[in-house]
């Protein structure tokens, strides 16, 4: 099942800088298994949402063209240190994961 993800949020001035590292194989469905010659079925994160203090700041659709163990960085103006950041993802097999942190 889903591995934990890493998330970090820091304030620089009045902007919160959020960095997320998700653990996921991000299979495209086009790669062949070296041993069996069979196509490895597609398995990738499709949706990512991020909220700060309960308000949605980012909702992303990802395709299989995003690298393995996706990295995502974004910046949000307005929040304060101590606000809670929550990131959720869902993949094409219905697996979900969530992580949260507070802005430092």
């Amino acid at each position: 099942m889903a591995e934990p993800m890493r998330i970090r949020a820091t304030m620089t001035g009045d902007v919160a800088d959020v960095k997320v590292l998700m653990n996921h194989p991000m299979e495209t469905g086009q790669r062949k298994d070296a041993k069996t010659g069979q196509l490895v079925p597609a398995h990738f994160i499709q949706e990512v949402t991020a909220t700060i203090g309960g308000a949605t700041v980012l909702s992303a659709n990802l395709g299989s063209g995003v690298s393995k163990n996706p990295y995502l960085g974004f910046k949000v103006k307005g929040p304060k240190a101590g606000d809670k950041v929550v990131v959720n993802w869902t993949d094409n097999k219905g697996d979900k994961n969530t992580a949260e942190t507070t802005i430092a």
Partner: protein, 155 residues
């Protein structure tokens, strides 16, 4: 639900098939309207992906900066940063034009999020990396070429 959707999509290109399936009652609208934009992500060319995103003829803009390496040694991991200085940026999409399915990711920004996203993408070959930004009901675009020495798709 997912297996059903795959089968439906296999038949023909995205949206129209889904519409027919909805009409026939095969899929409940709530399922067919899942947030993930299958029509855009399954598109095999840039035009189709743009259509799926609801973008037509985006305007070239110098206010979009794409930060990516000129030469990527490893196409499996190409860091890409897009900064949009266009006021009221609501979404940023990233496309690798020569990938089998060009649309890589589509980010919708809200609640104070700035026009900035940073991620890592796969690229099959040397190609333009294109950003499509929506702001105030209009769409803008910019592109940067990234040379890829080892492709990151297939294998």
């Amino acid at each position: 639900m997912n297996a059903l959707r795959r089968n439906v999509l296999k038949g023909a290109a995205g949206a129209s098939t889904v519409a027919i399936a909805v009409a026939a009652g095969l899929l409940k609208p709530t399922q067919a309207m899942a947030a993930w934009n299958a029509a855009a992500f399954d598109a095999k060319n840039v035009g189709g992906a743009m259509k799926g995103l609801g973008v037509s003829a985006p305007v070239d803009s110098k206010d979009i900066a794409i930060k990516a390496p000129d030469i990527a040694e490893n196409g499996a991991v190409v860091p890409v940063e897009v900064t949009s200085n266009i006021a009221g940026t609501t979404s940023i999409a990233i496309l690798a034009e020569k990938n089998g399915t060009p649309l890589v990711a589509d980010f919708t920004l809200s609640g104070g999020a700035m026009g900035f996203v940073s991620t890592r993408i796969k690229m099959g070959q040397t190609s333009l990396v294109r950003a499509v930004v929506k702001a105030g009901g209009k769409s803008y675009t910019a592109a940067k070429e990234v040379k890829v020495t080892i492709g990151g798709c297939g294998g």
